[in-house]
């Protein structure tokens, strides 16, 4: 006979075990691993904070950190804004509105890797059709991911193309969860469309927006495949995000300790930024409750 005190834990056990095995353990391994070094012959040794000390004196790390922060500073608000704008656009009745929604969600079905490959072909300076179009309308060919000043923007564009429709879904669901009577109350209270958006819709979208921003941030700090496939961190390091550095350290430089140190730093950054975001988007009514 089971003690009734144990019962709740038994019910929770599958979830708790899942949490430990799939979430906490990898983090623990990463953090512990970041303090190890491996000799050429594979001997593991504890090196304390040496990997971190090395990174902090490494110009490549700092420049990569800068790229990562710049990338996220632009892409996260941008994706949120674009997703929100799209959600507002398709948040209406109308014939064939499902068609536009489908169109916007479709890129989701394309894997990140494949979308990078597709854009690589599409934007290719020699064979890609897009530059032909740009020349035709008189803007002239652009190097996109082959240009130091355009590469990061190009990757942001590709990621947004793929991601915006996905995040739009969450925001659309959020818009639907605002009771129409609340909007009507505002209408009767005399709010202009802009006032309704700013004073009613926007504050009531705080939760879905916070979710999207936090989830998007976590994903974008780990942005990797398009860098790996399209730019290899270049040109001249302009797209060399920390994830790519972590990849290089592990798989090209055979330095797992350094790779895990970079991952650990990324984890810290994500935690800090997500905490800031949640604070920023906290609703006053939750605070009071």
């Amino acid at each position: 006979m089971l003690s009734s005190r144990l019962t709740p834990f038994l019910f929770l056990a599958p979830a708790l075990i899942g949490l430990v095995v799939f979430r906490l353990a990898p983090i623990g391994i990463a953090v512990a691993g970041s303090m190890t070094g491996t000799s050429l012959m594979g001997d593991l040794s504890f090196v304390g904070l040496e990997n971190f000390a090395y990174l902090f004196t490494d110009a490549e790390f700092w420049s990569s950190l800068q790229v990562t922060l710049l990338f996220n500073l632009i892409i996260n608000p941008l994706q949120l804004a674009v997703a929100f704008a799209l959600a507002l656009l398709v948040f209406q009745q109308g014939r064939a509105i499902w068609f536009y929604r489908l169109l916007l969600v479709l890129p989701m079905a394309v894997s990140t890797g494949l979308s990078a490959v597709l854009f690589g072909l599409f934007l290719d300076g020699n064979l890609g059709p897009f530059n032909g179009f740009l020349e035709w309308i008189g803007i002239g060919a652009q190097a996109f991911h082959r240009n130091q000043d355009q590469a990061l923007g190009t990757l942001i564009g590709i990621a947004t193309w793929k991601g915006a429709g996905y995040w739009m879904l969450f925001l659309l669901a959020g818009l639907y969860s605002i009771p129409s009577s609340v909007q009507e109350a505002a209408l009767i209270d005399g709010a202009t469309p802009w006032q309704r958006f700013r004073l009613v819709t926007l504050p009531l979208m705080r939760k879905p927006m916070a979710f999207v921003l936090v989830a998007d941030t976590a994903i974008n700090f780990l942005f990797f495949a398009p860098v790996y496939i399209l730019t290899s961190g270049g040109p001249s390091g302009s797209t060399s995000v920390l994830m790519y550095q972590a990849y290089l350290s592990a798989f090209t430089f055979s330095d797992l300790g350094r790779s895990l140190a970079i991952s650990t730093i990324l984890l810290m950054i994500i935690l800090i930024i997500v905490a800031l975001e949640l604070r920023l988007l906290r609703s006053p009514e939750d605070h009071a409750a």
């Binding site: 505002a186 009767i188 005399g190 004073l199 009514e285 009071a288 409750a289």
Partner: protein, 351 residues
């Protein structure tokens, strides 16, 4: 405060016509209730008056001013919604002051009006709470308060009490009625609950299938319903109908029972199919009269409600006395003189 009038109002959604030409005048300071079964168009009529829907045709004017093509904010109306539609992210104070703030009133002016309304509704201690922290009744009061501070030409209520429990509903009913008297305001109140309409309204508008069936004071409608629908809709328990044919001075029911209705049925066309209506409370025990088989006895304390079978049809009688009858017994009941109604079966029209 102001008058409101609606002329030949029609509204269609796609090919479905919800309002089929509605005309109505509401006098200054009047409390008018719109009642009818769900889908009758009463809420749509209210939303058209508010400006939340656009009329397909017809005219609406408020305080003598045509408003049919105006946006809600230009109509000077306030509305209380069924689910209260409070702004969840704003405090009670901000909810109530929202329209005034949009109107650009001074902070001091807003505070005065909000405090005043809160005082009336007993919301003063709750002003800094959020809607999520309030009970259903409190939310209802805030929604009402939000309407009051506007001091609008016209108050619109869209089933404001239907989300409350029965006891609270009775209490709020009284409060809104008192508020109407205190504010001397014009109010249009939509409800599906005929008791609410009967107890609160100066006049009741009974609607069915997009049309107004009858308009009148509650007791007018109760006593002289223009057709079988109105007769059946108002009153609880509802009016009884016996179906049959006129034959001389008697009613021959479906099963062939011949009921003589002294004094009531003279002068009607022989053979006409009719509904003979009698309210449950207008039936009294009698030594002779309509013989009725008792099927169910429901004592409520002061009254006794009987489910009877008369001429094969179910009839409810509400008797202001305690009764010692048992199911299966045979009794005799008589309608109170002058309190029966006769309707044409075909059209439902009062005869």
């Amino acid at each position: 405060m102001a008058t409101m009038s609606v002329r030949g109002l029609r509204k269609s959604f796609g090919s479905t016509e919800i309002l089929k030409g509605v005309s109505l005048d509401v006098a200054d300071e009047e409390f008018v209730a719109l009642v009818g079964p769900s889908g009758c168009g009463k809420s749509t009529l209210l939303r058209l008056i508010a400006g939340l829907e656009e009329a397909s045709s017809g005219e609406i004017s408020i305080a003598g001013r045509p408003v049919t093509r105006l946006a809600p904010k230009q109509r000077d109306v306030a509305m209380v919604f069924q689910n209260y539609a409070l702004y969840p992210h704003l405090t009670v104070r901000a909810n109530m002051g929202f329209s005034l703030k949009l109107r650009g009133e001074s902070k001091a002016g807003i505070d005065t009006k909000v405090n005043q309304a809160a005082e009336i509704l007993g919301l003063s201690p709750l002003l800094d709470r959020y809607p999520g922290q309030l009970s259903g009744g409190q939310r209802q009061r805030v929604a009402t308060g939000r309407a009051i501070v506007r001091d609008p030409a016209l108050f619109l209520f869209d089933e404001p009490l239907s989300n409350l429990d029965a006891k609270l509903r009775v209490q709020m009913r009284t409060e809104i009625k008192a508020l109407h008297i205190r504010l001397r305001s014009t109010m249009v109140y939509v409800t599906h609950d005929q008791i609410e309409a009967m107890t609160m309204a100066d006049r009741i508008v009974v609607m069915q299938s997009g049309k107004i069936e009858q308009v009148g004071s509650p007791l007018d409608l109760y006593d002289r319903p223009i057709n079988a629908f109105v007769a059946g809709f108002l009153g609880s328990p509802a009016m009884n109908f016996l179906e049959g044919r006129i034959d001389g001075g008697a009613l021959v029911t479906l099963d062939g029972t011949r009921l003589s209705m002294p004094g009531h049925l003279g002068g009607y066309q022989h053979g006409q199919a009719v509904l003979w209506g009698i309210r449950p409370e207008n039936l009294a025990l009698a030594a002779e009269g309509l013989s009725a088989r008792v099927e169910v006895v429901e004592p409520t304390g002061p009254d006794t409600q009987l489910l009877l079978r008369i001429a094969g049809q179910p009839i409810i009688a509400l008797l202001r006395q305690r009764m010692k009858v048992r199911p299966g017994e045979l009794i005799h009941v008589m309608p109170e003189p002058g309190m029966t109604h006769l309707f044409d079966k075909e059209s439902g029209r009062r005869l």
